[in-house]
């Protein structure tokens, strides 16, 4: 009975959609954002991707977006209303939108959905994410060279695989160039909260950190570092160039535009298929922001060489020998991590102190 009503509901929604779709010939692309478009980080870069889409296709495309959508009960409604409004393709750009995206996709079989950073797919739901950890390797190399106190502070958002991967990658490469380096990790339990991020940065600086890495989206840690003086930071998600050349010495930039353009094109051509995309520096989804003159020339050179090696596929940031935190072997000499392990990474590598909170 429940199945029948669900099917009927689906048919009703489908009909509503079909009539809406006939009324227009432009391809309508929708975006669901978790933060404000002016956050200067994560959501800002997704919105840049949306604007690039408009630039690329001009009159052939219409874009809509909804910002500040909470990752709870409200997300499903926001996505449904967007589908009802006649969108052909909807990008839901935060992990917490995963189940709502799948639920709405069941009701709108003719609308295509793309969910960022998740793992559930369906015939009309694809997932995409970026290999930010490749950027973290470059960042870790620079951080390991720059630190004089040998203490690198790290502001984590949530203890999820993506963030843990970043910490591991940065640590491995900092340690490679500076065996004495130590990581101090603070969990902020937020993606975007300038006040909390500033507090975390200040606490880390007080504990002696002279390089701050962040996996949160605001520029508050940059401001805190600037105030402290001799502390280095890196832009996160967005270039955050306004804090260059100091404290921001480089950045990891998310560049979603090429992917958004390619997927929209596929919908226009009728060739769209559910995918699982995980691109890195090589494909241009992860960019390394300009390394400023605050970084010594030979360090910059080394960092850029590493970037090129990763981009060409010659080097994988997780290459053995590597042990887990508890000392057990993870990767043997020359072995590289497989994507499955990376996707569900829930352990620190050897040398990182402290526990992953749970």
């Amino acid at each position: 009975m429940k199945l029948v009503t669900t099917l009927l509901a689906g048919a009703a929604f489908g009909l509503a959609f079909a009539t809406a779709a006939v009324a227009q010939d432009k391809t309508k692309v929708g975006f669901i954002y978790v933060g404000p478009v002016g956050d200067g980080g994560w959501t800002y870069e997704h919105d840049q991707g949306r604007l690039a889409l408009e630039e690329e296709f001009g009159d052939m495309v219409e874009t809509v977006y909804q910002e500040n959508v909470p990752e709870g009960a409200d997300a499903e409604r926001a996505i449904t209303q967007m589908a009802l409004s006649g969108a052909d393709l909807i990008f839901t750009t935060s992990f917490g939108f995963m189940d709502p995206t799948i639920a709405v996709a069941e009701k709108f079989p003719d609308v295509k959905f793309e969910h960022a950073t998740g793992y559930k797919t369906a015939d009309n739901v694809g997932v995409y994410s970026a290999r930010f950890y490749e950027g973290r390797a470059v960042q870790g190399t620079i951080a390991g060279h720059l630190t004089e106190s040998n203490i690198v502070g790290y502001i984590g958002s949530f203890p999820i695989p993506e963030v843990i991967r970043g910490i591991n990658s940065a640590y491995i490469h900092a340690k490679k160039v500076n065996p004495d380096v130590q990581f101090k990790i603070v969990w902020a339990y937020t993606w975007f909260d300038p006040a909390k991020e500033a507090d975390a940065a200040k606490a880390l600086i007080e504990q002696g950190a002279d390089v701050i890495l962040q996996h949160t989206d605001s520029t508050a840690p940059q401001a805190a570092a600037q105030e402290a003086g001799n502390v280095y930071t890196f832009g996160q998600a967005s270039d955050m160039i306004e804090y260059a050349p100091m404290p921001r010495v480089s950045s990891i930039i998310d560049n979603w535009a090429p992917y958004y353009i390619a997927r929209t094109k596929a919908v226009m051509d009728g060739t769209w298929e559910s995918d699982n995309t995980w691109d890195g520096i090589g494909a241009g989804m992860v960019g390394i922001g300009e390394i400023t003159d605050a970084v010594p020339a030979e360090v910059k050179e080394e960092a850029l060489a590493l970037k090129d090696a990763i981009a060409s596929g010659e080097y994988h940031p997780f290459t053995g020998p590597l042990n887990k935190q508890d000392g057990s072997t993870w990767l043997a000499e020359g072995e590289t991590a497989d994507d499955g392990t990376l996707a569900g990474m829930d352990f620190y590598v050897e040398g990182i102190e402290g526990d992953i909170p749970n």
């Binding site: 404000p36 909804q66 990752e71 709870g72 409604r77 189940d99």
Partner: protein, 365 residues
């Protein structure tokens, strides 16, 4: 000698008290319309999108109308409980925390038996959810009756404690073992039928939380008008000394009001986590506990008023989302618009409580 003076009425005007909400909505439409015009949108279209489209638009209405109930139910359920305390001068500001704890305890109770198919699971979760909220509210209640602590501060501070418990269980105790290491519990609504709070009639939005909200409104109405406890609550709020002489025990009242509000907030959390939200996650709470305070006052602490106020708030939320989507309004503009509505509603109270006199005061002879 001012030309316009406010003169306190002996008793608030009943006619005006009933009219002010309408006046407030009109004032909001005018002020909001000006704001939308400044932002470059057609003001009439914006206001139509917010107030009319969610109800009557052929494209969105069939979906939005049921959503009004979904959005309003937790607000009404929580506000009804809060209003009892507010009437008695007991200020529970921590409904958000009680809402979270209801969801955590209720969802935990259900998940403990995963993947059982027993029909007893959901009723058990409802009890556990109510208990979770009640127990969380008992902390400020007992601290107040035993040690005279301020329930405003204690209940508010406990919200932050509850948020941290939520973050902890999302990434630990209640984490979905098949969730690839990501925080968040199993999805009760999708993956655990025995624990899911489904729509009772498909596509009406009518889930068990909506039913519970309606029952709560009726009970609160009967309690306040027909029951001795309702009399004690009103007396304690209006004339605390008289209440004491009449033999009303302040401690009993505190325990009753905080406990009821906590239990209702806990129920709201449970119905939300097992239905619309689906899972315990770090960002599960979306401010219903705080918004319900506004709904309680908007409804003038009266159960029927709260029912209407909850629906109105839900309408501005859903209409606001539509305005963002269809007109490209920024989220902040919608929040500003909601703020205007609340401001005008409270400001219009002046007319119910005061008489406006124009001209110089008459001298009594």
């Amino acid at each position: 000698m001012s030309l316009i003076r406010l003169e306190k009425r002996a008793a608030p005007s009943r006619t005006l008290a009933a009219l002010t909400p309408v006046m407030a909505v009109i004032a909001t439409m005018i002020a909001g319309g000006i704001m939308f015009a400044i932002l470059g949108a057609n003001p009439l279209e914006a206001i139509r999108t917010i107030f009319w489209d969610p109800l009557f638009d052929p494209q969105f209405g069939p979906y939005s109308r049921p959503q009004l109930l979904v959005k309003a139910a937790p607000l009404i359920l929580i506000a009804t409980g809060l209003a009892l305390g507010f009437k008695a001068g007991i200020w529970n500001i921590g409904a958000e925390g009680q809402y979270i704890m209801g969801a955590v305890v209720g969802a935990g109770a259900g998940l403990a038996f995963y993947p059982s198919e027993s029909p007893l699971i959901f009723p058990f979760m409802v009890l556990a959810g109510g208990f979770g909220g009640w127990a969380w509210a008992m902390i400020p209640a007992i601290l107040k009756t035993r040690f005279g602590t301020n329930e405003i501060l204690v209940s508010l501070m406990l919200v932050y404690v509850a948020e941290n418990i939520l973050a902890s269980v999302s990434s630990g105790l209640l984490r979905n073992p098949e969730g690839m290491g990501f925080p968040g519990s199993r999805n009760l609504a999708r993956d655990y039928p025995a624990a899911s709070n489904t729509e009772i009639i498909a596509n009406t939005g009518m889930h068990w939380g909506v039913v519970a909200a309606l029952i709560a409104v009726i009970f609160a109405y009967v309690l306040m008008t027909r029951h001795k406890m309702g009399f004690a609550i009103r007396l304690a709020g209006e004339a605390p000394r008289a209440a004491r002489f009449a033999g009303v025990s302040p401690s009993r009242l505190i325990i009753f009001c905080l406990g009821t509000a906590g239990a209702l907030a806990g129920l709201a959390g449970l119905f939300e986590v097992s239905g619309p939200a689906g899972q315990i996650s770090i960002d599960f709470n979306s401010g219903y506990g705080f918004t319900a305070i506004i709904v309680a006052f908007l409804g003038r602490l009266h159960p029927i008023g709260i029912l209407l106020a909850g629906l109105l708030m839900a309408l501005t939320y859903i209409g606001g989302e539509l305005a963002q989507l269809m007109l490209g309004m920024p989220a902040a503009a919608i929040q500003l618009f909601q703020g205007m509505l609340l401001f005008f509603l409270l400001a219009m109270d002046v007319f119910a409580n005061y008489r406006i006199r124009i001209g110089t005061p008459e001298v009594a002879t």
